[in-house]
Amino acid sequence: MRKIWSIVAVGCLMGIAGSAMANPDDDLKAVQKFFKERFPDVKTADYVNGVYALDAGLREQWQAIEDFPPYEMDVDAGKKLFETPFKNGKTYGSCFDNGGIGIAHKYPVFDAKTNKVVTLEQAVNECRKANGEEALPWYKGKIAQVLAYMNFTARGNIIKVEVPNDAAREAYEQGRKYYFARRGQLNMSCAHCHIDNAGRRIRADLLSPAVGQGAHWPVYRSDWGAVGTLQMRFDGCNKQVRAKPAAPQSDEYRNLEYFLTYMSNGLPLAGPTSRK
């Protein structure tokens, strides 16, 4: 009974009914409260650790892996890429505030000129293009390595995604709609698994809560054999429900990343990290 009520409560507060435009801060408070009731013992900052915040056994196995971080070489490779000058002599640092160091916790940002969400990997590729270099392929490889380094230098900084104006509010709203919309032949939404059923098991897999999901990228997964980006994970989850994934850096995925990272506002950035 309790369970049903709290789902209804979240459903209403998060406005799946889609009435008035969402106030991002109210959304965040509602979903945090929902998880606080479900996981009273989990400390707020621990949500960045996904399922490992919920299960002591899984956490122990994960910590053993983190003793020799499988993404360490990628951070090093990313640093090298980051510091190696382009053909024109400039570096990535010239494109970012503070030379790109310790700033990843502010992404994605909303660009008032284009009225679009800009993810960190887009900013990296825009920087390359502005300096006469070709864009890197999305999801994994060099782009994920550059991200691994940039996030590494921002670790512990408090995530602070901003929604500065009405156009940004609309982008946030689109992302939120995506998270709550049923899709694929299996007809499930992201929220079905990561809000309603967070902390339960789907077959043998424990489901992580929405809060924290945007806080720790890129991620090394043994399944991928590499570090990959948040949007690469969107693809994986879409395929699980037999839905057609959106294109990398499409409006859909950018807005989704915007919404989802907003749901980690106030948490300490924890990327890069590893997951099963």
């Binding site: 007809n187 309603d196 077959r203």
Partner: protein
């Protein structure tokens, strides 16, 4: 050494496989086919969410499927729950196996027979 590795690998392949193999419980005809369909990850995959007798590593999103004749005296109602669970709970996570053709009508009938036998 190499052999040991191979053995371990073989063992884990068997272990993986055995979770997919349907343990034999005495169910007859259609119900037995229904069990295979219900347990198959690319078909019913009911174990993703429900504990069912004889199924290993079930999820715990939905209730254990037991005493089905008591829960659903009317078999048509059971079929409806499996064909389109959103009719009973609009926000349900349970996939509409009939409505979205995840299972064919024939497969659905067999699954219903099997679930009814639980």
């Amino acid at each position: 050494m190499r052999n040991a590795v191979k053995l371990v690998m073989a063992a884990s392949v068997v272990a993986l496989f055995s979770t997919a193999i349907v343990p034999t419980i005495a169910v007859a005809g259609d119900a037995e086919d229904g069990k295979a369909i219900a347990f198959n990850r690319t078909k019913g995959n009911c174990l993703a969410c429900h504990a069912i007798e004889g199924g290993s590593l079930p999820g715990n999103i939905g209730p254990p499927l037991v005493h089905m004749k008591d829960r659903f005296p009317d078999k048509a109602k059971l079929r409806e729950q499996i064909a389109d669970a959103t009719r009973n709970n609009p926000n349900t996570i349970m996939p509409p196996f009939g409505k979205l053709d995840i299972l064919t009508p024939d497969e659905l009938t067999k699954v219903v027979d099997y679930i009814y036998s639980l």
